[in-house]
């Protein structure tokens, strides 16, 4: 009678250990692939090699940054956390797209406003270019030309 509860206890203990180890295996973070690393890296630029995205930059400095991204991803950091870490360490200029704050908003506002203003100016220009087509007839009706030769020429033209 005493052995039975002890046996059950042992079985339960083993079962809990097995379940625990299975859960622990399930929680192990997946090792980040190169694609995972590059997905973050392509949004960053190393200040040493300007204008080359981090995912395709071949310098040792960039390779170290990619290693750091891999390390952070394997620790379970999110993309946003990693980007913020790089901003804190190296400044906003490492970001491919500047954050929409402070004077940076000009980057997002000025181009569309300039395009709209350009479209409006084109519209105005086309409108003005069309107007002179009407004016010669109106002008001829309103005031006869001073030159006798032109007056007679226009008379002949209107007859035809």
């Amino acid at each position: 009678m005493r052995l039975l509860p002890a046996g059950i206890l042992l079985v339960l203990l083993l079962a809990s250990l097995l379940v625990g180890s299975a859960l622990a295996q399930g929680e192990t973070p997946r090792l980040p692939t190169d694609d995972d690393v590059n997905a973050v890296a392509k949004q960053l630029y190393c200040p040493v090699c300007e204008n080359i995205p981090l995912d395709v930059c071949g310098t040792q400095a960039c390779a170290q940054w990619r290693d750091l991204i891999r390390e952070k991803l394997s620790q379970g950091w999110t993309e946003a956390q990693i980007k913020q870490y790089f901003v804190d360490q190296y400044g906003d200029r490492v970001l491919a797209t500047p954050p929409a704050e402070g004077l940076n908003w000009l980057v997002y506002i000025v181009p569309p406003v300039a395009i709209l203003a350009g479209a409006y100016l084109l519209y105005r220009a086309f409108k003005i270019w069309r107007q002179p087509e009407k004016s010669p007839v109106g002008a001829a009706e309103a005031a006869p030309p001073a030159d006798e030769y032109i007056r007679r020429l226009e008379e002949e033209l209107t007859k035809r």
Binding site: C46, P47, V48, T59, Q60, A61, Q64, W65, D67, L68, E71, V87, D88, Q89, Y90, G91, R93, L103, L106, V110, A117
Partner: protein, 192 residues
């Protein structure tokens, strides 16, 4: 009457129509001037510096890898050797041992301070570099690249020698080739 009324109504309307584009133009010009002012300010800010020889070095703070905080202004009265480096920089390795040797030479006197600014580097690699070359003088990352931007460094290694009054006295834009060369840059300032 109708004609007179319509004429009276037309006059303010025409005036209104004329005033509209005028206000529009004023707004456009104000916006344009505002934008140009912002651009000029931004340009002025980017054109500031570099710190030239003979000019006072602006104050900066360096957070060291071991958590300390060093302000340049606190080092007045001492000669400061400010070295920019990175673990990925091969030429930096050439001078690393010489800088450390020079530091150990001057450290007991307490008149010279060496500061290492780690430029665009990752901390694990930077710490491995410091350990590899057994560097003991204070070193820290150039957070948000503020210090390197203030000096407008063109790369690494670069070393700036600042005198006791906080004035930049010499710049070395390449690795030091010997301890003697480092001493030659420091000694005249100690004699002053």
């Amino acid at each position: 009457m109708d004609v007179a009324e319509s004429t009276e109504n037309e006059v303010p309307q025409v005036a209104l129509e004329r005033s509209r584009p005028r206000w529009g133009r004023i707004l456009v010009w104000v916006a344009l001037l505002g934008l140009l002012t912002l651009l000029a300010l931004g340009l002025r800010r980017t054109q500031q510096g570099p710190v030239t020889i003979g000019s006072k070095v602006p104050d900066f703070s360096l957070t060291t890898f071991d958590g300390g905080l060093i302000h340049l202004s606190d080092l007045e009265g001492k000669v400061v050797v400010l070295n920019f480096w990175a673990s990925w920089c091969k030429p930096c390795e050439q001078e690393a041992a010489d800088l450390e040797e020079a530091w150990r030479f001057y450290q007991p006197g307490g008149e010279v301070v060496f500061l290492g600014v780690d430029y665009v580097d990752t901390e694990p690699n930077a710490l491995a570099y410091l350990e590899k070359f057994d560097i003991t003088y204070p070193n820290g990352p150039d957070l948000r690249t503020r210090i390197s931007q203030a000096f407008r460094i063109s790369g690494v290694p670069e070393t700036y020698i600042i005198d006791r009054t906080g004035v930049l006295r010499s710049v070395k834009i390449s690795p030091f080739l010997s301890v003697a060369e480092i001493k030659a840059a420091i000694e005249p300032l100690l004699a002053e």
